[in-house]
């Protein structure tokens, strides 16, 4: 049992996402930053799709049983308060390592110094019911999560599941989980303007129907992720609007599709996107690039860089390795 004593933002339960749900009009859901999600579970030596928490800012928890956690995805100070022989001691940790808790320990996560969201992996995952093979919940869908699609808010308590470690297959020493991690995901090398993040996108869907000028504007200017972004979609701010085209019928949306609505400000669709959308799509941001995009703060600039699907597939597997 673990209790969230205080949180600034709702905390979402994430896992590998729903399966065979799209034909019922149900969203796929899943983690925003899949690289960080996998890493948290790898650190804990468990299945990479084990459910975890996605937090966006300051929060604190009390562990009512002993458990191990691993926090990944960004940089924030993690403070652990433990009572041993009637004396309270506190110590702080960096992300990307396993932290072992005993019953009664309080841990809190401070303001994010880097990135937009963290993944809190828990050995055994979170024990809530499965719907469409997933524990994710979306408020508007009214099922999943802590119940009725609800995320975790201050005061919520929830059970953790049974820990089933996976064998390390000789890759890591058995005491690895107590060491601070040097585990780093491979991030594709940047070649463009210094200090500007490049976000890969694969031109597809209606890309060919956009004007040459629209396609030029899409890849030639600096953009920012707007504050009005959520798990459904990341609203992108571009100084010059991208001239859109007319599309009459809705279409099925893949993870990371970039919609261009009539106002010319792109929207990159996230895991909680609705299954279908009516705006024209200029391309898709592959998973490894989406993991970078969701971590950009509103004042960080980036550019979209076109890559072909073969390159995207190669980078995807490099990142997964």
């Amino acid at each position: 049992m673990i209790e969230c004593t205080l949180t600034q933002y709702p905390i979402f339960i994430i896992d590998g996402g729903r399966r065979h749900a799209g034909a019922s009009g149900v969203s796929e859901s899943g983690p925003m930053d899949r690289t960080a999600f996998r890493l948290a579970n790898q650190l804990l030596h468990q299945d990479v799709y084990t459910s975890a928490l996605e937090v966006m800012g300051e929060c604190s928890f009390v562990a009512h049983t002993s458990m191990s956690i691993a926090i990944t995805g960004g940089n924030a100070t993690i403070t652990l308060a433990t009572t041993l022989n009637n004396t309270l001691s506190t110590c702080s940790y960096k992300p990307d390592q396993v932290i072992n808790l005993i019953a009664g320990d309080k841990f809190s996560i401070g303001r994010l110094q880097q990135g937009m969201r963290l993944v809190v992996g828990i050995a055994g995952g979170i024990d809530v019911p499965l719907f469409f093979d997933s524990r994710c919940g979306i408020m508007r869908e009214k099922f999943g999560g802590l119940g009725q699609g609800k995320p975790i808010l201050s005061g919520d308590r929830f059970a953790i599941g049974c820990y089933q470690p996976v064998s390390h297959e000789g890759e890591m020493p058995s005491n690895y989980s107590n060491q601070s991690s040097e585990y780093q995901p491979i991030i594709s090398p940047s070649t463009g303007i210094a200090g500007v993040t490049e976000i890969d996108f694969v031109p597809n869907y209606q890309h060919a129907q956009f004007s040459l000028y629209a396609r030029y504007l899409f890849t030639s200017q600096l953009m920012q992720v707007s504050q009005q972004s959520n798990r459904m979609g990341l609203r992108i701010h571009s100084n010059q609007a991208i001239p859109s085209i007319v599309k009459h019928e809705s279409q099925a949306l893949a993870l990371g599709v970039v919609q261009i609505p009539p106002n010319g400000q792109p929207i990159v669709m996230g895991p909680d996107r609705q299954t279908h959308g009516g705006y024209p799509v200029i391309g898709t941001v592959p998973e490894y690039a989406l993991d970078k995009l969701v971590q950009l703060t509103p004042n960080e600039s980036f550019t979209f860089v076109p890559v072909n699907i073969e390159m995207a597939i190669a980078k995807y597997w490099m990142n997964l390795r």
Binding site: A23, S24, E249, G277
Partner: protein
């Protein structure tokens, strides 16, 4: 009968785990929703173990793979081959149940959904715009066999095709803030049913108690792409003349759906 053979089905990887299969312009005798729905089941039949999901669209299938099961070239070719093979097979045998022709739905069952036309939302307004009487509108609407295109944008919201041209109306200028759950509504070329209370800009003709989505059922969504639906009015609005027009139809199609 060879129109489907020439069908353009374009299959390509759009993300490292998703195949996008676009169905091009179809001959007007082909029910696209039915073809896409059947193709989806056909893919599941042949490669279920590799799949995470198949999302049907108006003109496409989005095939999501389990990452560890992907074999890029083989899967692309297999999906392409299966879809083309299915399209060809079904065009060659239009007489059997696998037919995707719009002429008759073969032996497939029709689901009849009761609709209460008693509460007046847009029924009178739509009847006026179509220069029909209220009862004629209900009678004509209930004579249509709709095909389910997809559950979309929210769990259990079904888009239905088959609305005749004369029923095509643009959406309401000002969307309603509150459309009741079960509202049967039309807009543009489509008919739809709202699974839950939400805002919406479609013309509401009536309300049904049929539950379109219930997460506690073994199959939460009532309908899948390709299902056939026909509405029938609940008693209050039925005049004797109307009953005479509709009743035989209901009984005859119920017999058809019982086998």
């Amino acid at each position: 009968m060879t129109h489907l053979v020439k069908q353009k089905i374009v299959v390509q990887w759009v993300t490292p785990t998703t195949l996008h299969c676009e169905f091009g312009e179809l001959d007007c005798t082909v029910n696209k929703a039915l073809l896409i729905g059947r193709c989806r089941l056909y893919l599941y039949e042949h490669m279920a173990i590799k799949l995470a999901d198949i999302v049907p669209g108006f003109n496409e299938l989005l095939v999501q793979f389990i990452p560890s099961e992907i074999d890029y070239f083989a899967d692309l070719h297999q999906v392409e081959r299966l879809l083309k093979q299915y399209a060809m097979d079904s065009s060659a045998t239009t007489s059997n149940t696998a037919s995707v022709s719009t002429q008759g739905t073969g032996k497939r069952g029709i689901t009849h959904i009761p609709v209460d036309f008693g509460m007046d939302y847009d029924l009178v307004d739509v009847a006026q715009r179509l220069t029909l009487s209220r009862t004629d509108l209900i009678a004509q609407f209930c004579a249509i066999e709709f095909s389910v295109i997809l559950n979309g944008f929210m769990p259990g919201f079904i888009y239905l095709s088959g609305l005749p041209d004369k029923f095509h109306l643009p959406r309401l200028a000002t969307p309603r803030l509150k459309v009741p759950a079960g509202a049967v509504a039309i807009a543009d070329a489509y008919c739809g049913i709202y699974p839950q209370c939400s805002p919406g800009g479609w013309h509401i003709l009536g309300v049904t108690e049929h539950v379109l989505f219930d997460i506690d059922r073994s199959t939460p969504a009532s309908f899948v792409t390709g299902d056939i639906i026909q509405f029938y009015p609940l008693t209050p609005v039925i005049t004797p003349i109307l009953t005479a027009k509709i009743a035989p139809k209901i009984t005859s199609s119920k017999e058809a759906s019982s086998d």
